[in-house]
Symmetry: C2
Subunit: 346 residues, 2 copies
């Protein structure tokens, strides 16, 4: 702790501590003369108010907790950046807790009790730290809601699908629809889909967008074109091979993430199928590598920064006790690169 306190300033400036506090916070008028004197002393002595004391008295910490399931997952830093960006403007600070879920309890999540244990702990510590609210970044927030509500602190979720009022998400259905629309506009009608695991909400939503496009554009619907992947590159590879072996292969493939798109490229390159001349590919996520592959992948960028920003905005509103009306979901943005072209005329 800095050893010098408001008393030292008051003494040296020949005023009461109250006056010092007033110039610091601007809560009452202070004569220009004395204000300047106080400010000078503060400067000279390098005084910084003790935030612990302030928080105690003010009953406000200006701090929120951010719980991330794993900060090293690709989309998390960008979200944090968005949160931070907004927090900065509102003079809020971020107490970060990284659950390290994958590393601690493995990828299986078979032991949800263990997950709850870590999550509860994190929340508990943050609450004790007097955070004014919490933002949760991750895909496994179930059950957390009830727990936190016990303490009457607001919480908002990002990057996760909860039934909780405040779950900030991007418009997944629209994104998928837009990807299809883009391909249709390029002239494609036989479009293959490689999905993520079926029990994930993004997969389902993206299918919705897909079907919506199929019916709206009156595309011929062929169930053979729909392949269930698992988000990993290998599944993209394997399923593309299957797609290419079809009697009438698709002229374009939508992979529900860039990682699987990598598999598509690998399969195509092995089979001598040229991308984009023989086959167009669209990915999702705009992962950095998507710009480094040959060809550079056209992909749907997720509005991560915006999501973080919006989450912080909503949380701030909740903290102030204001109603937060549902905002429009931030939407994805198509990044056009080299992996899409018009289909060959046969």
């Amino acid at each position: 702790m800095s050893e010098i306190g408001i008393k030292d300033i008051a003494a040296k400036a020949n005023v009461s501590t109250a006056t010092v506090s007033y110039v610091l916070n601007g809560t009452r008028n202070v004569k220009l003369n004395t204000r300047e004197r106080v400010l000078r002393v503060i400067q000279e002595m390098n005084y910084k108010p003790n935030n612990a004391a302030q928080s105690l008295k003010r009953k406000r910490t200006n701090t929120i907790g951010v719980i991330a399931e794993d900060v090293t997952v690709f989309n998390v830093p960008e979200i944090i950046d968005g949160i931070n960006d907004c927090a900065d403007r509102m003079d809020m600070h971020i107490l970060l807790t990284n659950l390290r879920l994958d590393k601690r309890i493995g990828r299986e999540f078979d032991r949800m009790d263990s997950y709850r244990h870590y999550a509860d702990n994190a929340v508990s510590e943050l609450l004790s730290k007097q955070v004014e609210g919490i933002i949760y970044i991750g895909v496994h927030p179930r059950d957390l809601t009830g727990f936190i509500d016990t303490f009457g602190k607001p919480i908002v979720y990002t990057y996760s699908y909860t039934h909780h009022d405040l779950s900030i998400q991007y418009n997944d259905e629209q994104a998928s629809y837009d990807a299809m629309a883009y391909l249709v506009q390029k002239g494609h009608t036989r479009i293959g889909i490689i999905s993520g695991v079926m029990d994930s909400t993004p997969s389902r939503l993206r299918f919705n967008g897909f079907y919506k496009a199929v019916t709206e554009y009156e595309l011929p619907f062929d169930p053979q074109l729909i392949k269930i992947g698992d988000w990993e590159a290998e599944s993209g590879y394997r399923l593309t091979l299957e797609l290419l072996e079809l009697e009438q292969p698709p002229t374009a493939i939508v992979a529900m993430n860039d990682v699987m798109a990598v598999g598509v490229i690998r399969a195509a390159s092995e089979k001598g199928v040229h991308i984009p001349k023989d086959l167009s590919v669209i990915g999702f996520d705009n992962r950095e590598f998507s710009n480094y592959l040959i060809p550079r992948i056209t992909t749907m960028e997720l509005p991560l920064h915006e999501m973080g920003y919006q989450a912080m905005e909503s949380l701030a509103l909740l903290i102030k006790g204001e109603k937060v009306e549902k905002q429009p979901m931030p939407s994805c943005k198509l990044i056009e690169r080299e992996s899409v072209a018009a289909p060959r005329i046969r």
Copy 2:
């Protein structure tokens, strides 16, 4: 704030607040009987000590500040993960500040005063928040040292080269040497280098490792094989083209980062040079995409987690006022993949 305080617990459990505090902190003996009673009441009322009050009295916040120049830079989250991992074990919390340097003042850093402004602000706020120390993650920490030392709080730098005692870095020279040694062991003697920008310390250190290997293994030294890049893919592309046009082109290339290695691959693929049969490539960083390219790039992985962990460990020591003896630098690890093979016999 949770409305219930230690007084409420004390009242309901028929003891003084002191006793409650003792059972909470274990600072004095409390009869088993009463301890249990107090604990029960605490449970029932869902009481969490007010951390602001605790900090104020204890003069300890158990909080450190982490300043990142940009959390979205690829290596930062992993470092934060390491810090967090260690902090967890020591019951320390992390107050995160993201400078967003690139986004705020552009990539030029021509306005270092502006940088100082943001950095100073961040430090100032953290100090006011009573952090017990600071970890700085970034490459531009100059001048910060003096500023913080003013307040007598310890600071440790990561991922940056300072003359400050406590700058946690990995062994760059060794990494470069190891990369060379690996290629030599595969049979290469004509090895091209594509460096990062010359005025960066990593570039210089990696050159040192390179020269060390050249002399130790008595490789023929040809200045034509040394190309100065700028960390970007395009430079890797352009310089590889130059290298391939040499009368006697190299049989292997070390690119000082994976991004430039992408350029190497692009150039090779355009020229019909097969990797790894005709040309071997090693990158640095083990970026995620390096595993998705064709071929998968063999690369040097940076010990980011370990650096973060070590930074936190050292900081904790400093906070306790203990001397921290210089630890051995964490070293990089070669990730063997598909981009290196023995050179063709001609």
